[in-house]
Every structure is written in C-alpha cells, then in structure tokens.
C-alpha cells in the first residue's frame, strides 16, 4: 500500500467513524459526511494522476457536483429539524414524531 493510498483510505475510515459515532450536533455529522466526500475526491484525483489515465480526471468533478447536491439536501434537513424541534441536537430526534 502506498503512503497516499493509506492516507486517503484512513481518512475515509475516520470520516465514517465520525459519522457513525456522532455525539450531539447534527451539523457535526454532516461535516463528517463532507469529509468522506473530500477523501473520495482526493482518492479519485490521485487515481487519475498517478496512473496516468487522464480520461478519468472528469470523475472527481462529477463527484463534486453530486456531493454538492447531497450537502444541500443535508442542510435542508438540518433547517427542517431546527424548525420543528427548535434545536438541531440529535437527542431531540427520539420521539418518532415530526
């Protein structure tokens, strides 16, 4: 395993752990999700650069566009949660009610 491969693989695993073991704030979990997308962008870019396959250099751009969509949807959920529960803490999402 090359150092760069280990770096972005462990970055992905750390972001996944941060998302799974979330603590109080919804926005912290969304930021861990953004960290996942960032590690994937770096991974795809390094794939295109280090293996000299420039045809796949468009793939990180498409990933970035779709991760922007996902970030927008996540923030809309954050706004909806703040409107109905008056805060965005994850412990208030426990009553199975809207």
């Amino acid at each position: 395993m090359t150092p760069a491969h280990f770096a972005f693989s462990s970055a992905f695993m750390l972001g996944l752990a941060g998302l799974a073991f979330h603590r109080t704030h919804f926005l912290s979990a969304l930021l861990c999700l953004e960290g996942l997308m960032l590690s994937l962008f770096i991974a795809l870019s390094l794939w295109a650069l280090q293996f000299d396959t420039m045809n796949s250099a468009a793939l990180p751009m498409i990933l970035l566009a779709f991760s922007a969509c996902e970030a927008g949807a996540g923030l809309a959920l954050l706004v909806a949660t703040t409107r109905t529960h008056s805060n965005s803490r994850l412990q208030s999402l426990s009553l199975l009610q809207c």
């Binding site: 462990s10 752990a17 930021l31 861990c32 650069l49 250099a57 751009m61 970030a71 949807a73 809207c98």
Partner: protein, 173 residues
C-alpha cells in the same frame, strides 16, 4: 519534495481525526477547511493543478462557506473544542486506530517514486488533468446534461424540505 508530501499526507489524516472526534461544529468546520487545504497541496504535489483549483473554489469557497454560516444554528454558550475530555479521548482513540492500521499494513508497504505524470512522455499544450476534464464537455456531454438535471432536481428537493407544509410551528429560521 517527498518530505513535503509526507507532511501533507500526515496533515490530511490528522485533520480528519480532528473532524471525526465531533467537536462543536465551529471547530469541525475549521478542521475540514484545513483538511481541504492540505488535500489541495497533495493534488498539486502530484501534478493536478486544475483539480486542486476546482477543490479550492467549489468545495472550500462554495460548500464549506455554506456549512460555516449554517454553524450559526448550532450556537451554544460554551462550544466544545478539542480540549474537552470526550473529544480528546476520541481523538487519541482515532490516532491509535490509524497507527494500528498502519502496523497491519507493514508487510504490504510500497514506497514509490513521487514522479509527476506529465513532462516525461511528450510535449503538449495542455496539462493532463485539464485535458481529462475537457472530456466531460465533449464525449461526456450527456453526463453533463444529466448532472445539470440532477442539480435542478436537488433544488426542488431542498425547496420542498424547507417548505415544511403543515408541520412545525416555529418559523424563526
């Protein structure tokens, strides 16, 4: 130069440790900004200047700015930084986990040359990654149209989520 790349890769992993230990969103957004900057350095060191610029402009300047001012929704009187005990414990745990994984990879470690991809084969007008991204506009034109359609759809998803219909009495946000 390879020392600089190693430092940048260390910064990548340590920055995501700082984000994954889930401090208050102010500090997590700061950690993500640092990780994105360091990731841009890694891409520039590997020869991808255009992709690094795209990361800075779109990711940092577009998406993270939105996250930064959404952090105002998580305002609390005593935001928990990286010095508080639960966050520090998680950070130490994650660093130990990464070190453990690195120890597991010991047999398979491969230190290659950090050789840039262009400049050794042929002369050309454009850099490699610029030429690769331009394929998105020529052969991948339908993918571009599909991506634009998905972005328009996401706009309507966001509008519908924040409209809220008849649920939710609070409209202060």
């Amino acid at each position: 130069m390879s020392y600089l790349m190693y430092i940048l890769l260390f910064g990548l992993v340590l920055g995501l440790v700082a984000v994954a230990s889930n401090p208050s969103p102010y500090f997590a957004a700061l950690g993500l900004v640092v990780v994105a900057g360091v990731g841009c350095g890694v891409l520039v060191g590997s020869g991808g200047c255009f992709l690094s610029l795209i990361l800075f402009l779109i990711y940092l300047g577009g998406m993270l700015v939105v996250f930064a001012y959404s952090a105002a929704m998580a305002a609390e009187p005593f935001p928990e930084g990286w010095g508080s005990w639960p966050t520090l414990r998680l950070m130490v745990g994650y660093v130990v986990g990464v070190g453990f994984a690195w120890g597991l990879m010991g047999k398979f470690w491969y230190e290659e040359d950090w050789l840039g991809f262009d400049g050794v084969v042929e002369l050309s007008v454009l850099r490699g990654d610029v030429g690769g991204v331009s394929l998105m506009y020529s052969s991948g034109g339908w993918l571009l149209i599909g991506g634009g359609w998905v972005l328009l759809l996401t706009l309507f998803v966001v509008l519908e989520l924040t409209r809220g219909l008849s649920r939710g009495a609070l409209r202060a946000v």
